[in-house]
Amino acid sequence: MRLDVILRIITKLLLPFMLMFALFVHFHGDFSPGGGFQAGVIIAAAVVFHALVFGLYPTQKIVPMWFAELLMPLGVAIYTGVGFLTMALGENFLGYNVLYFDPKYAQERGVIWIEVGILTTVSGTMISIFYAFAGRGRQK
């Protein structure tokens, strides 16, 4: 694992582009294929890639386990939070039309926020699952 210089450098070069692509997929999901699910999985794939090349412990220094586990409930909380916010503003649960004076922009705003919730939950869950499997030692 110590001598694979090319792998390590290529990984370091690729990772920012992977994360950038994930953000593109997420925020451009209204106009092109993509959305929270795909972006969350791509972010998780970037973390898994880093862990496969550099080892599990260096990766857990960058993305600690508690952080990945925090993301899991946080995403669901953002999602339901949007729902309760619209309820507080006098609409139905997840009725986005009250988020802005023009219903069209209100819909887009609501969609972006719940997609952020999905991204958070999916990426957190995938990273945590990977950590759980990879951190389990092989039986003697």
């Binding site: 997929v25 999901g29 209204d30 106009f31 092109s32 294929p33 993509g34 959305g35 699910f37 795909q38 999985v41 791509i42 998780a44 794939a45 898994v48 496969l52 586990e69 899991m72 409930p73 995403g75 669901v76 999602y79 339901t80 729902g83 649960f93 997840l94 986005y96 219903p103 069209k104 922009y105 819909q107 887009e108 609501g110 969609v111 719940i114 997609e115 919730g117 999905i118 939950t121 999916v122 957190g124 869950t125 995938m126 945590s128 699952i129 990977f130 759980a132 499997f133 990879a134 951190g135 389990r136 092989r138 039986q139």
Partner: protein, 184 residues
């Protein structure tokens, strides 16, 4: 016509990979074949005009689940044992199910026709309303996040619950059993 042809070629390759998955005894080979299978089915989805689904399948099916299965093979073992007794009952069950389903399929509308029931009611309705009501050109995102927001909420909850289950099954604390929690 070329669409249907590409579709048929990809589906034939898919069937060939499936035969390989059924026959292989080396689990490492099975996992790699299922990764190839995921990429092929993502291509089929692309031909079926579902780029969102194809993107998800390529990243989830071929990326994450292959890595997880390789991790499990590392933790367990990589070869499937050959059973002492061979039974043909499962083969006949599968063949009978296949025959019955094929018999039922003949009544379905042909592939790719625009006038079948699925394409005359709710689908065109979404296509007509989505942009006017939400201002989002990608109808899949509009339906996913706006019209069917409750579905997606339930689904995020399912992913979260599965994650919790895996944490409970696999997570090992730094000092196992010290805080009174049973390890096994």
């Amino acid at each position: 016509m070329s669409e249907a042809l590409i579709n048929m070629v990809l589906l034939t390759l898919l069937a060939a990979i499936t035969i390989g998955v059924v026959r292989a005894r080396n689990l490492f080979g099975v996992v790699i074949l299922s990764g190839i299978y995921s990429f092929l089915i993502a291509s089929v989805m692309m031909v079926l005009d579902a780029p969102d689904v194809a993107m998800t399948e390529a990243s989830v099916g071929a990326g994450i689940s292959t890595v997880l299965m390789l991790g499990v093979l590392y933790l367990t073992k990589t070869h499937e044992s050959v059973p002492n007794t061979t039974s043909y009952a499962p083969f006949f069950v599968a063949a009978a199910v296949f025959a019955m389903l094929v018999y039922g399929t003949i009544d379905l509308p042909p592939f790719g026709s625009a006038d079948q029931p699925i394409n005359t009611h709710v689908g065109p309705d979404y296509l007509a309303r989505a942009f006017k009501e939400t201002g989002i050109p990608n109808v899949v995102t509009a339906v996913l996040a706006s019209y069917r927001g409750f579905d997606t909420l339930g689904e995020a909850a399912v992913v979260f619950t599965a994650g919790i289950g895996i944490m409970m099954l696999l997570r090992r604390r730094k000092k196992a059993g010290e805080d009174g929690e049973a390890e096994k």
